[in-house]
Symmetry: C2
Subunit: 448 residues, 2 copies
């Protein structure tokens, strides 16, 4: 969507258009913050030539003054008082790269309320307090831009907010967490176990020492909430996103997927599911899934990210790139920063607009095909007993194969489309059968 | 880049902001024009809700009044006088979907000079008269938007113009012609010959009866010029683009590529090659190329398009989708239309800005690896004679294999990086050898 005039509450443009100097207050000086400061220094002249604006770092808020490893800036620029960066009259635009909800929320709100545009990469903040922040930005007539919050350097948010603003988007499916995609790629391509692949990712710095946020799907779920909000113009609170991580994915699942023509990926999925009580119905979830080997998402390897968009008019789109890393993320932040600064100079902004009050459907009501893999006791009648349980719950079987013998015996099913509720009820009853051992494994199957 | 105030020459906003009605004059009612009118009718309410603007088709310019097949609009809306659509006071924004240079150029210029924003899908017009049109739009302070000119529904142009405005882009490589990608995919996946695959594409409506514009690379070359302009902010005239089509690609080349771990694709490539006499040096070309099988572009099948962007900061990006077709293209046009209309209401626009006067380098100066496939007479000493010619021109050989015997004998080379000039000189001398039969085949090899 295009520019709109700033709120008359801020008629006095703080920027001196004659000199075109825009002071950039940077909050956070980790990987992305330091990469942004470096990239801005490299690109300053080119940006000035192209836009007439001279973007200059005004101040940098850091957690501790002893931790600056970079000497790109004068030591005087750094402060531990983040609010002073926001309040500094020399700060025209605020870039928030602290992450987490507090103190980021207070700082972003303070900036917006002062009529200072904010660029942020903070998916957790947006997923949990997006509605409040978007309203505050629109009320102040300034930009709140967040391209870097999902998919690092991939121009996804702008494409959804602007290029596809008039497109009837039906579904967005993304590989939005590089760590888990690296782990699953290692398991798929090198036959690694989950724990070996995780250790490898940690050694390479792709995974944190405590990998919970990545492998349990929390990071992807926050991004799913942000993507759903921009794709459908609807409020999607973080805690409404169904979430399963990849800890339960076994090398057996990966091997079976390959045999059946699929690849296992952790997907963030947001889709339109009609209307519920006259409100827009959305389904937003994160879980591992079997993706057909010829689907464009199946080909996204290592720590790359990609988001696949389906629209009634545009058909299928995919945006692919580096979903993390200092410089790719800083590139997205800088794109937003130039935009926010230009809009500020013109006293306009790109509003989010009012968000629809959508109904987020329970996963129990959603339909999918399912892959189910269970260990069984190898004796006559097992297959009939198991198939009978599927039938009782109206879950129709597309393919069923018994593999191995004796202690190694297992049955692998692919169902036709069924509801989650019916499949979970089927699994519950299967666990009660004497001939089924342990917990059946389940993966949802994405249609080709 | 963000909004800039309109030229004071047009202070009187023609739009009545109270009612928010925006009259859309549509020039051309073929596949895309009729899809746009239908899509606009479907999305009108949603757009109004989201933006407050009511987009209404004011008039439609057609070549012949007898040809309307759609009844979506009142017959009174149609006229064969295209200029009257532009001049109509009820037309606030003009959508140009006629294609070709004339009369499109006059109509677009007329609209821009009247302060009416233009949305166009016309790559030929932009590639040949872009500089004039961009200047006219910027001088009038109105938008000239052209997302649909390259890659149909793929949000490429906006990503390059806005998200990557501050990114040091080094190279853009695209599969931007669906017809040739369909033909090459059929040859690769089904072993079809070039002529059978072309006939198939014609039967399915992917290729025109006269396929010259597609198979000779003219369509891709026009798109390459447009992409290079937005990626590098430089003037790239259509006739400066080196162009080779796919007519010379044989099933033998396709099979050899597969054996060597490559796929043959028709690529449009625009890259930065340093500075020449203190001016930005660019190389812009279209030719078939061998793409490593694991490269994301290798996986773009059938009539899909994709553009792979490499930047110093953002790393590797790829945007993938439907590059043609009425509804995907109309989706991109509608995204631009909403943007142009919003900017018009706010009396702002997204300027192209001044374009650099770049030097477009000759292909002779460019470097690549090369695949060369030649029929030879199967006799002792052939390999030595042929290898000697490469050596004389300083072209270093990475791999060399003789295949077949007797009449079927051929040698397949992959070179190390060499200049086009040296490789062409090598080929010239090879043709003089008695032991080489016919014309050696050549394909440039893209690095993985």
């Amino acid at each position: 969507m295009a520019a709109t005039p700033a709120n008359p509450a801020h008629p006095a443009n703080p920027v001196n258009p004659e000199h075109g100097r825009i002071g950039v207050g940077v909050l956070g000086y980790g990987n992305v913050g330091s990469a942004l400061v470096a990239l801005l220094a490299e690109q300053q002249t080119a940006i000035a030539k192209r836009t007439g604006m001279n973007l200059e770092v005004s101040r940098v808020g850091v957690r501790s003054l002893s931790r600056q490893r970079e000497l790109a800036l004068d030591a005087q620029m750094f402060t531990t008082d983040a609010l002073s960066v926001v309040n500094d009259p020399a700060t025209d635009v605020v870039v928030e790269l602290i992450g987490g909800v507090q103190p980021a929320r207070e700082l972003v709100l303070a900036a917006l309320r002062q009529g200072k545009p904010v660029v942020t990469a903070n998916k957790e903040l947006l997923a949990n307090h997006g509605a409040e922040l978007y309203e505050t930005a629109d009320a102040s007539g300034v930009d709140l831009l967040f391209e870097a919050a999902v998919g690092g350097g991939i121009p996804l948010v702008r494409s959804l907010r602007e290029s596809l603003a008039a497109e009837p988007v039906s579904r967005v499916m993304g590989i939005v967490n590089g760590t888990t995609n690296y782990i699953l790629s290692q398991m798929t391509e090198h036959g690694a176990t989950y724990s070996d692949a995780l250790a490898d990712a940690q050694a390479l710095g792709f995974a944190e020492r405590d990998p919970t946020a990545d492998v349990e799907g929390f990071d992807a779920a926050a991004k799913a909430a942000v993507v759903a909000t921009v794709a459908f113009g609807a409020q999607v609170p973080a805690d409404s996103v169904y979430r399963e991580g990849i800890c339960g994915v076994t090398d057996e699942d990966i091997a079976q997927a390959e045999r059946l023509g699929y690849v296992v990926k952790l997907l963030a999925i947001a889709e339109r599911v009609g209307y519920v009580n006259e409100k827009l119905g959305l389904a937003v979830r994160v879980h591992p899934a079997m993706v057909p080997v010829h689907h464009p998402l199946a080909l996204v390897r290592d720590s790359f990210n990609a988001v696949f968009v389906e629209g009634d008019a545009v058909g299928e789109l995919m945006l692919y790139g580096r979903g993390a890393g200092g410089r790719p993320t800083a590139s997205a932040v800088l794109g937003d920063l130039v935009d926010a600064a230009s809009n500020l100079c013109q006293n306009t902004c790109t509003p989010i607009g009012s968000l629809e009050d959508a109904v987020i459907c329970s996963i129990n009501d959603l339909e999918s095909e399912y892959y189910i893999n269970m260990e069984v006791i190898d004796e006559p009648g097992v297959l009939a007993a198991v198939a009978g349980v599927f039938g009782q719950h109206g879950v129709s079987i597309r393919s069923m194969e018994q593999e191995g013998l004796g202690d190694q015996a297992r049955i692998v099913f692919i169902t036709h489309t069924a509801t989650e509720r019916d499949v979970q009820a089927t699994l519950g009853d299967l666990r009660e059968l004497d001939s089924v051992r342990g917990m059946p494994g389940l993966l949802r199957v994405i249609g080709g």
